[in-house]
């Protein structure tokens, strides 16, 4: 699973993914008819809260709660049908094949274990090595995310590090088993603006260096546009549009246009910004699949 094929290799194929949850009002489709393919590229999934973007990521990793109903025609990672794997086999895919970075390190790191121990665990799950070697790997990884004094940070607890450092630790932890695909679920949303750029730069570097695929989930359209190669726009659990990042501003889909028009521009006029209008009809329209591989 670790040898790198050509640049055109398809890493992940998702066909007709549907996720539904039971609710007091009946069954709710959090994700419906989501399909996409990706290779060693950076794909952004953009949408409002409740658009199903996070659920999609977790569905791929099979980490939704047991009461969620997940169905898809295909979820194929590097030729392996993920839906057919046993839990034990899926655990091997997690971390080593596909990994995920979450939003806020204050909550996503175990508060009672040192940072170093947590990174080490991420490594020893997939590689049976003595403690010293795992420690060395962890320290190396801390350096890779540009933490200046890895020896010291190794012994710190999550509450003793800043947000930016915590997120870098998270990235280190998720990349140490060398996955082929990384899902980043709002990785910078909990950070200050200046720190955001630093963390993104590190993420960018590491993903490129290792020839990984990246799914970048966010609500920030501009950020995704500047960072990713392609963008998937979701609304109400469905894909509205898939575009290349550089062609984003030429989009004709009404929802995308609505999102773009809501963004303040420094050279825009002084009129009040338009309010985003949503049309439930979009939930039934066929999807514009421009740019699919």
């Amino acid at each position: 699973m670790k040898n790198r094929s050509g640049i055109n290799e398809i890493l992940l194929t998702v066909n007709n993914l549907q996720v539904s949850f039971p609710s007091p009002k009946g069954v709710v489709d959090a994700v419906k008819n989501v399909s996409f393919s990706m290779g060693r590229e950076k794909i952004g999934i953009v949408g409002e809260s409740g658009s199903g973007k996070s659920v999609t990521g977790r569905a791929v990793l099979r980490l939704l709660p047991p009461y969620a109903r997940v169905r898809a025609d295909d979820i194929i990672y590097r030729g392996r049908d993920l839906q057919s794997l046993t839990e034990k086999e899926m655990r091997q895919v997690r971390g080593q094949g596909i990994s995920m970075v979450m939003q806020d390190p204050k909550y996503s790191l175990n508060p009672v274990r040192t940072v170093g121990k947590q990174i080490r665990e991420a490594y020893t799950i997939h590689h049976q090595v003595p403690k010293q070697e795992a420690r060395a790997q962890a320290l190396q990884m801390l350096e890779a995310v540009r933490i200046r004094n890895p020896e010291q940070v190794y012994h710190l607890y999550p509450h003793e590090v800043s947000g930016g450092m915590g997120q870098r630790i998270m990235i280190a932890m998720m990349l140490i088993p060398q996955p082929g695909l990384l899902i980043a679920d709002e990785p910078t949303s909990a950070l200050d603006v200046t720190v955001q750029l630093q963390v993104l730069a590190i993420l960018d570097d590491l993903v490129s260096q290792r020839g990984m695929g990246l799914i970048f989930i966010s609500h920030d359209l501009e950020l995704v546009a500047s960072f990713c190669d392609r963008i998937i726009i979701m609304y109400g659990g469905r894909i509205m549009e898939m575009v290349d990042a550089d062609k984003l501003h030429e989009s004709t889909h009404p929802y995308t246009r609505g999102l773009l028009n809501c963004l303040p521009k420094i050279d825009g006029d002084r009129e009040p910004l338009p309010t985003l209008e949503r049309d439930d009809a979009w939930l039934d329209d066929p999807v514009n699949r421009a740019g699919a591989l």
């Binding site: 839990e87 971390g95 995920m100 996503s108 607890y157 509450h159």
Partner: protein, 346 residues
């Protein structure tokens, strides 16, 4: 770890320890104040209790002075504190021995019960709570919750009586009240006060077996209450932890599910559970009073109630101080453990 012991941290630790000592000291003083005041509030004249109501006025006055009751209240309190700190809790009216000696004699029996019950509670209650939280709304979950609910609603003295009736009277599986059968009493030399250990020391194997049989029912009974409480709290803590994001992180890493539950989630529960176990110990001291009464178990609880029914104020207050101090000590220790275990609290 050693690199963390900078001068600053040492000073901080010293300050915290000092603060802790002050808190312990003031609470203990408050404890003594309350028992002192209770003692002085008694409607029975303590002097009369000693000299009898046929004594002449001179004897009465002599006794009164001897007991220090002519002094102003605050002076009496200081003498009281001094006495207690020296281990003098007065003399028991009933046994005519120093209360301290009485308590030292009966105290281990209660500790035997309380410790056994806590162990049962921890070993059974915590795993039950974990299973209950993981498999919510399953049959096991409902059973655990019912057990917990019963533990909060059943009167312990009633359950004790029922248990005696069923297991001793009807089924004859377990022996009756007392620490050992009547004809075994007073044979073994009380070295530690804990019957089973003393039997081992004295190599009285048959008496030891008898003692073990006798301790089963009261220990299980108290253990049930401990277990009900701990399982309920564990369940609550576990549900809270399993909701947290770091659990998702562990699963994303590929950690095995059993490890996610028993190491990651439970690991985070252990810290508040320390406080809960300490509190449950206090509840066990309470429950022990009633249990010992039913099982004629010669511990501190039975001593307390017997003294009470005989208006032996010194013994009652002495026991109260001892129980209160133990509880205070246990709580302080658990607070300390909490600070050590939780990295966020340092």
């Amino acid at each position: 770890m050693l690199q963390m012991l900078t001068r600053r941290r040492l000073l901080k630790a010293a300050r915290q320890t000092l603060r802790l000592l002050v808190i312990v000291a003031t609470t203990f003083l408050g404890l003594l104040l309350i028992t002192f005041l209770i003692g002085r509030v008694v409607p029975i004249d303590p002097v009369l209790a000693v000299v009898g109501d046929k004594a002449s006025p001179e004897v009465y006055e002599k006794a009164r002075i001897a007991m220090g009751l002519h002094l102003p209240l605050w002076k009496q309190f200081f003498i009281y504190i001094g006495n207690v700190l020296q281990g003098d809790l007065g003399t028991s009216v009933l046994t005519a021995k120093p209360v301290t000696e009485d308590i030292l004699r009966v105290f281990p029996a209660t500790i035997e019960l309380a410790v056994t019950a806590t162990i049962i509670g921890v070993l059974v209650g915590i795993p039950l709570g974990v299973f209950s939280a993981v498999k919510r709304d399953s049959f096991l979950d409902h059973v655990t919750r019912v057990i917990g609910l019963l533990g909060y609603s059943l009167p312990i003295f009633w359950l004790a009586l029922m248990a005696l009736m069923v297991f001793y009277a009807q089924l004859d599986w377990l022996p009756g009240p007392g620490r050992v059968d009547v004809f075994y009493e007073d044979i073994v030399e009380p070295v530690t006060g804990i019957m089973i250990i003393d039997c081992i020391i004295a190599r009285e194997w048959e008496i030891m077996r008898n003692a073990i049989w006798h301790v089963i029912l009261p220990a299980l009974l108290l253990g049930y209450y401990s277990m009900a409480y701990l399982s309920r709290m564990t369940r609550s803590f576990m549900i809270e932890q399993l909701r947290q994001e770091y659990i998702l992180t562990a699963r994303v890493k590929g950690v095995a599910e059993w490890k996610v539950i028993w190491v990651h989630a439970l690991g985070n529960c252990l810290i508040p559970l320390i406080t809960v176990i300490a509190l449950s110990f206090g509840g066990l001291l309470e429950g022990s009073v009633l249990t010992e009464t039913v099982f004629a178990w010669p511990g501190l609880g039975l001593y307390l109630t017997t003294s009470l029914l005989n208006a032996d104020m010194n013994a009652v207050l002495g026991s109260t101080i001892v129980v209160g101090s133990i509880f205070l000590g246990v709580n302080m220790f658990s607070d300390f453990l909490y600070k050590v275990a939780d990295p966020r609290a340092r």
